[in-house]
């Protein structure tokens, strides 16, 4: 099956570029003629993930694979890892520092939103090693 693979390096501290990767994926999906609802789900989930990497993990990498059935996103970082995944998945829970909250981020909606907009959601995290999110949005 044909697939389109996209790779993005997410910079650690550059907020002006945050969202560039998800914006690019959105453009590609539009050109492919993917259904608008699917594009929205991908854009929102990936943007949240991208921002999380910038805020918490010192950047990372995102690999996107588009097939005729689904869009898979693997977001890998080598940040601190998540201590309590259950807590992190709760809406409104946030460990973001004040300087990040000042920018309007850190509302504690990141992970819950990512899950909400994905059809498949998997989180692998290890303290001191990093976190990998594997997300899938089905083509509708």
């Amino acid at each position: 099956m044909e697939s389109i693979k996209l790779h993005y390096d997410i910079s650690a501290t550059d907020f002006t570029r945050a969202g560039a990767a998800s914006g690019d994926v959105k453009r590609v999906l539009k050109e492919l003629g993917v259904a608008p609802a699917t594009i929205r789900n991908v854009a929102v989930a990936m943007y949240e993930g991208e921002i999380n990497m910038v805020i918490h993990a010192g950047g990372g990498e995102i690999d996107v694979e588009i097939t005729e059935d689904a869009i898979q996103m693997i977001l890998t970082d080598h940040g601190p890892g998540i201590e309590n995944v259950e807590l992190a998945m709760k809406e409104g829970y946030s460990t973001a520092p004040d300087n990040i909250r000042c920018l309007g981020f850190g509302a504690g909606m990141g992970l819950p939103n990512i899950k909400k907009y994905s059809d498949e959601f998997r989180i692998d995290t290890e303290l001191g090693v990093g976190t990998t999110l594997t997300l899938k949005v089905y083509m509708s």
């Binding site: 044909e2 914006g23 492919l32 003629g33 609802a37 929205r40 854009a43």
Partner: protein, 459 residues
Amino acid sequence: MENIFHSVRLDDEKCLGCTNCIKRCPTQAIRVRNKKAYIISDRCIDCGECIRVCPHHAKYAVTDHFNELLKFKYRIALPAPSLYGQFNNLDNVDYVLTGLKKMGFDTVVEVSKGAEFISDATRKMLESGELKKPVISSACPAILRLIRIRFPNLIGNILPLYTPLDFAARFAREQAKKETGLSDEEIGVFFISPCPAKQTEIKRPLCFTEQKVNGAFAIKDIYPVLLQTMEKLTPEELEPLNDSGIIGVGWASSGGEAAGLLKERYLAADGIENVIHVLEELEDEKLNDLEFIELNCCTGGCVGGVLTVENPYVAKARIQRLRKFMPVSCNGLPEKFTLDALGWTKELTPSPSMKLADNVIKAMHMMSQRREIEAALPGLDCGICGAPSCTALADDIVRGYAEKSDCVFFGLQAIRENPDWVPAPFREKNGTAKKATDDYANDFASAFIHNTPKEENDT
């Protein structure tokens, strides 16, 4: 391809085939072929950016000729509020409105009057809770077209309501019929317009099955005659025609429409690049806390329209001064307003002309090819191939409208094989290019462009 009317056109004679307009087109709708900058019809939103940036004045907007007035027994002028910002030291709008009457219109109805009705209708609709928020203004016709092409999933957020011009036209027409007993065909309603996209909207309405406006005259065309007429007016001759206030006239510049809603949670963006950024964020659901989004394609709002004569900021300053002497608003809707009375009569359909193919699998195949081609191109976005960027050239190649040797880097190889080779934008019909590429340039022209539209029929 849609064979459709566009007001923005190319003047072949003046075009040198440079890269200014191809680079600045927000929908990447222009390509240089045969030394001319052709416009791709189904991507053009008639925003007029190319008119603004062309150093040779080779792009222009078609508006109606004054002779059109002769077709009607009774003629109505609908001046845009931006018209008021074109005159120095104006302290009474009645000079402008009386001047228009002296020029040969039987009556004048301000579009700003229509705007006050629409402001009221919008307030009522926002209160009703029936709209998907944030609501996007539908007043700018270039924005409607931009959303159809680049942001089709936001169509559901657009305010499905008459524009101020639509309302003013309907009001003026009904009033004229009542007063004169004439039929619809005998009454001519003409917009005095700052905007090429409005002309397109008049000829080919997107959200209405019929159009109540017969045509549009460009502010820049009417300005010299109107100015002369106004200078001759004595205060005794002035007719009390002004019937709109701060809210209505405020629509002339960016933020005016939103301010007229008397809400706090709104955003007003102007200038097409800024608007695109806002639409991107809206699409990602980052602006969900807003109630209303006003978007104007031109910098500064309608005062920045390419058919105006004055700098948008100067025009805005003048209108601010004029508004000082006006009441807040002169017009409101009757209490029992329903959307049926002022709603769209036709669904706004998406026109995703950026997509590669109708079928996702085929599109994916083309996308893979395009990425391969793009990787081989130099990435300089020089424009010598006639496309705005390397990505756009790669896109044209997979769609069959260009070839790799159009890139000057690959052209060097082509020259080795054929010393007569010239890059795509410089090829002439009977010039030095290969026969095959000549045909290709012609194919491109006939398949892709609308520089000389013959029919003005819709699809």
